[in-house]
Symmetry: C2
Subunit: 242 residues, 2 copies
């Protein structure tokens, strides 16, 4: 069996998230159907990150096993012809049998985009959180730096089982002012369900002055659950590193 | 009665064009409904350009008459709250009774975007024509310059009545290479139905070498109908000048 690794991109707007679900249009479901039709054998894909409904990806990575000898260049073309306009394969290559898109990954890079213009914009509404108030990026950056490193991120997560391991490492975090908003770049060993959107929700409150700069660290120390969740459309999985 | 002028933007993907049609979701229909609900009186809007289904606008202009004294700033806010995410008002102001969005306009500026990357892109598919072949922009520019000025543009139009005046003036045309494709900027006194998309279709054939540089002028001279029409999603109404 060959182990093939694909880099894919999708506009998450019309997907019910990455993970396959009965009766819902998911990235995994649509991709597996296209692969099965192209390769004429049952295929199960493993994704690096299970992005939520509405979350986008510019560099999600998946792998799967196949017995077919199809060249990888040809597979990209054949798949892209079968895939819908909001899900495309960027590249494919053969990897060793040991490669696992999820467990082999050493870090994930996500970007969260905020648009702070006064009026809503039809071009940004699918890809940014419209937050029409000024945000203090320096304060947000300082708050974010206080939670870099290895921590139990349980206060920044949703829908956990009690016994799940919730320790993750946040390698880096950048809050960058843009022409019409703010971009937040996060790289971590992995992210819990809802983690980035809860961190962004808290950061925004720091940015408006509603919360203190140590608000995020305080949650980690006191284990108080964060509750203000940024909407999914601002989030994009940029890259998975191995 | 006050005459109000609005600048609006829309993502044309899910609209059946600008002009009101029974049973179809159109820009005019959705805008008139929002205005009627906001102002509580019947409203008819006049648009500067009747864009086709799938065509976008970053600076469409409309006007309408109302008896209501609502301040223009407030009207923008109230309307944007009622309007769907793919249609928004950018600004509003009161103008003289003589102002007519369509007949007072002196020119329209359109942009057509081509994406020439090898693989389809989920980010461009709604806003560009995916044409994965190299295009010679210098040839296209030369071909376009041969049809600048006042001409009977009937060969570059669709669905005309025989007696319609088909003389228009093309003030300027630019073919600009971009990082991943080509942008065509056109400014004219007005454009016939299908005119830009037929011009772009012809230009692309000049750009690949399939047709000669004088192909467009030849159509004007021989009155041979252009038939290769660029798809709507690459087209955007950028600005209307008065």
């Amino acid at each position: 069996m060959r182990n093939l690794r694909l880099r894919i991109e999708y506009d998450g707007t019309d997907f019910a998230g990455f993970a396959r679900q009965k009766g819902a249009r998911t990235v995994q479901g649509v991709l597996e159907s296209a692969l099965q039709a192209a390769l004429d054998e049952p295929i199960t894909v493993i994704g690096a990150s299970r992005t939520d409904a509405g979350v986008h990806a510019r560099g999600q990575v998946v792998n799967f096993f196949t017995s077919r000898p199809i060249p990888t260049d040809r597979l990209v073309m054949v798949l892209n012809r079968r895939l819908p306009s909001d899900l495309k394969v960027l590249s494919a290559r053969e990897v060793s049998a040991q490669f696992h898109a999820r467990f082999s990954a050493t870090s994930r890079v996500y970007r969260y985009t905020l648009y702070t213009g006064v009026h809503p914009s039809v071009w940004k509404i699918r890809y940014a959180w419209h937050y029409p108030r000024p945000l203090d990026c320096a304060r947000m950056q300082a708050a974010l730096e206080q939670i870099l490193g290895e921590h139990d991120f349980r206060p920044f997560s949703v829908k956990l089982t009690a016994e799940q391991n919730t320790v993750r490492t946040l390698f880096s975090g950048l809050v960058v002012p843009t022409r019409d908003g703010v971009r937040i770049e996060l790289e971590g060993s992995g992210f819990l369900r809802g983690m980035i959107r809860l961190i962004v929700g808290e950061l925004v409150q720091v940015g408006t002055g509603k919360r203190e700069v140590d608000a995020l660290r305080w949650r980690l120390e006191t284990r108080r659950q964060a509750t203000f969740m940024a909407p999914p459309q601002g989030l994009c999985l940029m890259r998975v590193k191995y």
